[in-house]
Amino acid sequence: MTEINLQGINETIYYDECPNGLKIYMWVNKKVNTFYGTLSVKYGSIYNKFKIKNKVYETPSGVAHFLEHVKFNEDESTTAHDYFYKLGSDTNAFTTFHYTNYQVFGSDNAKDNIIHLLDFVQNDYFSKKIINNEKGIIIEEAKMGEDDPYTIMLFKHLDNLFKSSEYKKLITGTIEDIKKTTIDDIKLVFDTFYHPKNMFLVVTGNFNPYEIVEAVKENQNKKEFKEFLNPERIVLKENKKVNKNYEEVNVNVASRKIKIGIKIPKKSLKNYDDLHIRIYLNMLLKANFGNTSDFKDELLQKELINSMSYMTEIFDYYVIIMFTIDSPYKEEINKVFQEKFQNIDISLDTFKRIKKSNIASLILEYEDVEFVNNLIQTEILYYGKIIDNLKEIYTNLEYSEIEEFINILDLSNTSTLILNPLDK
């Protein structure tokens, strides 16, 4: 087992790998009563088209999410919930664009819980009856999404940013996708992606890491897995330009919402790795659009906005920035934002202040077992490893570097979506 010391924040991540390729990451906190175990499969909703050697496969959208639902059935009459319930633990799962995550959260018997987490996720039992029963439930879940204006807003906006990317499709799939999903689709993606080499286990909280590693290795050694076929996700060709510059739609929002998205080809930032892109962008967005910015303050004081927020994502070959603004003034808002995009800056004082507060927040990150578990998952998914020198990276950031980044950052490729209330 390897101990990864997180420099400057006095925390340790334990790391090991099973002979079959399953990677294990652990963070121990003896002050808490609970543990949190997650098994992540690097297979999410954007893997609808993939290639094994030269053969191309295509599945309906939403299959990753469908599989997540039926995965809890261990046979025709037993679910993983039954097992965990008896142990007094809680279990759940979620599917994102990039991965599927299965969780168990408990206070006793960490070893038994973690082993059963592996057992039920790696179990290959599926039946037509189970799949048909689940369809009704997933359709109701999809309908809940249709009633949620924020889900509608997000996917409408992604649809306007991307011409062909899988990121524009609902994670649940549409009701038609759900209806046409078959047991063969489910088995195909399970056999292809649910391999230990394509999974990683993260355990955080109060437990003995040596006991967990030994039990996991013993469990994995007993199981046979077919050869991992290295499926390759087919990334659909995407236009550099946004799909639609401007659109207005009527949805069930109480007041007008404005979404402005920026699509930046990663090629234009080729001198920077993903970690630095995220660090620089977050600092810049905070300085220019956050609560401490003059821009937001002015918009509030002038009564142009009621609230605003932003998020950044890296989707395949594009960096996406999305602003959500609550304001009745669509033309003025679009105009002032477009102007601001051409005048991004950060003062030396602001740079120093944000740097200091980012370092302070590193201390706080390692406390809550669920938060730390998610943090580790994110680092593995984003960077393929634990970043053990974040404090050093922040400490060594130079003002001139961010100035250089601003010089090459092009925020002109935008898409604006106006969401008007239904009755106005």
């Binding site: 009563n33 007094g88 029963n133 439930i137 009633d147 303050d297 009564e303 507060s357």
Partner: protein
């Protein structure tokens, strides 16, 4: 964990010392009984007081200072539990043991009192620019309720049950309530805030004696302590339940069933009813309601029962296809009948107890849960988490049947899906 109470004549400070967390959390709680007309005023005031002050004029000034204080978090929030209405100012900051700056603790503890003691007022009126910012934000929040099918259905259902009941009132109020608030009458509300009870709760790893001294130097509440507000709402019961239907534009229909909880003693309410509710519908996918409605009949994605202890109410809610509402109602009634007859095994009871104990143990890992437990221990004699765990261990089927017998149906509320969604 070490609990201490400091009686400072016009307010109390409750400290909970523990080295379990890296942050220290402080809640300054002004409490009074629910009064429908007052609550929107206090909610507005709470938002405005944390948005501007004499020293920190704008949200930007506040955000910069909080960043300087090592990412301290500060906000105001109003809440209602039964008949108790609270206006709270919350501060969460890194424990001083991690910070070398000697003046840090004093600077950070002083921060919220800067807002409570020195609001941005001129000629007995709040500053109009900040007032308007908060007004727009509150309007957005009130109108935003219409966007959420489940939330809207629950609010409407409680209103139909009894619009005069404190259980049906909302801390935000309505747009009409909001329009009654002015910079001038809000100043009266500010003065009235100090006619409330005041309790300050602090949890974390810090020198509590020093914190008490800093607070004493910075906060003089002018009113002598009042009696603690009464929490429990005794909602009226009905001989025969009422059925109410509303139309909506949502894709799914929402069914809400409200039950009164009658004549249970405090122990049953604090301990046994939680086990009853867990088996019925709060226990997630293994609960009776989930099994009947979701697993066996694929009617919904989720269904839950909500125990509103201080309102003496049990609420069951589910969103589903319009055509399945009748069947869902029938199945919910069937579940409750089975609960009444004790049609579940001893194993089910034992598993539910185990799971509830786990939930309570997770609360011991969370500073907000521990602090809340002390708050309700003080206001309502709610046993501490460790005592509740012991109590749940002793719950048996007889206790659960007694809980089943205590409920009676009051209102069935259906928020129908739009006509295009048949």
């Amino acid at each position: 964990m070490e609990y201490r109470k400091f009686d400072l004549n016009s307010y109390n400070i409750h400290t909970i010392k523990t080295d379990k967390f890296k942050t220290v959390r402080m809640e300054i709680i002004f409490s009074r009984e629910v009064a429908k007309e007052e609550m929107p005023f206090f909610t507005f005031l709470c938002d405005l007081l944390t948005d501007t002050s004499k020293k920190y004029k704008t949200r930007k000034d506040i955000a910069i200072r909080l960043e300087e204080l090592y990412k301290t978090v500060f906000y105001g929030v109003t809440n209602k539990a039964g008949n108790l209405f609270t206006t709270s100012f919350v501060l969460e900051f890194i424990s001083p043991i991690f910070i070398e700056d000697a003046s840090y603790l004093e600077e950070v503890i002083k921060f919220p009192f800067e807002f409570i003691n020195k609001p941005r007022i001129k000629n007995r009126e709040f500053d109009i620019t900040s007032f308007n910012i908060v007004k727009r934000r509150m309007k957005e929040e009130i109108e935003g309720i219409k966007e959420n099918a489940l939330r809207l259905a629950l609010i409407n259902a409680l209103n139909k049950m009894d619009q005069e009941s404190p259980s049906a009132t909302r801390v935000l109020g309505t747009i009409e309530d909001l329009d009654k608030i002015t910079p001038s009458n809000l100043y009266d509300t500010y003065l009235e805030l100090f006619n409330s009870n005041c309790d300050i709760f602090i949890i974390g790893n810090a020198n509590m004696d020093k914190i008490v001294e800093i607070i004493k130097d910075n906060f003089k509440n002018r009113v002598i302590k009042l009696n603690k507000p009464k929490l429990l709402v005794n909602n009226k019961t009905r001989n025969k339940y009422q059925l109410v239907k509303d139309n909506s534009n949502f894709v799914q229909s929402t069914l809400v069933m409200i039950y009164n909880i009658n004549n249970l003693d405090n122990y049953d309410k604090d301990i046994n009813f939680h086990v009853f509710n867990y088996i019925l519908g709060s226990g997630g996918i293994t609960s009776k309601l989930y099994q009947k409605l979701r697993s066996e009949n694929s009617l919904c994605y989720s269904v839950r029962s909500l125990y509103l202890k201080y309102d003496n109410l049990l609420v069951i809610e589910v969103s589903l296809d319009k055509s399945n509402v009748k069947l869902a109602e029938k199945l919910i009634r069937k579940c409750l009948k089975e609960m009444l007859k004790g049609e579940y095994s001893e194993e089910v009871v034992s598993d539910a107890k185990k799971n509830l104990i786990f939930s309570l143990k997770t609360g011991l890992d969370n500073n907000v849960s521990i602090l809340n437990n002390y708050v309700f221990n003080y206001f309502a004699n709610l046993p501490l988490i460790e005592e509740r765990i012991k109590g749940i261990m002793n719950t048996n089927k007889e206790d659960l049947i007694r809980c089943s017998k205590a409920i009676s149906l009051n209102t069935i509320y259906i928020q129908d899906a739009g006509d295009n969604n048949d």
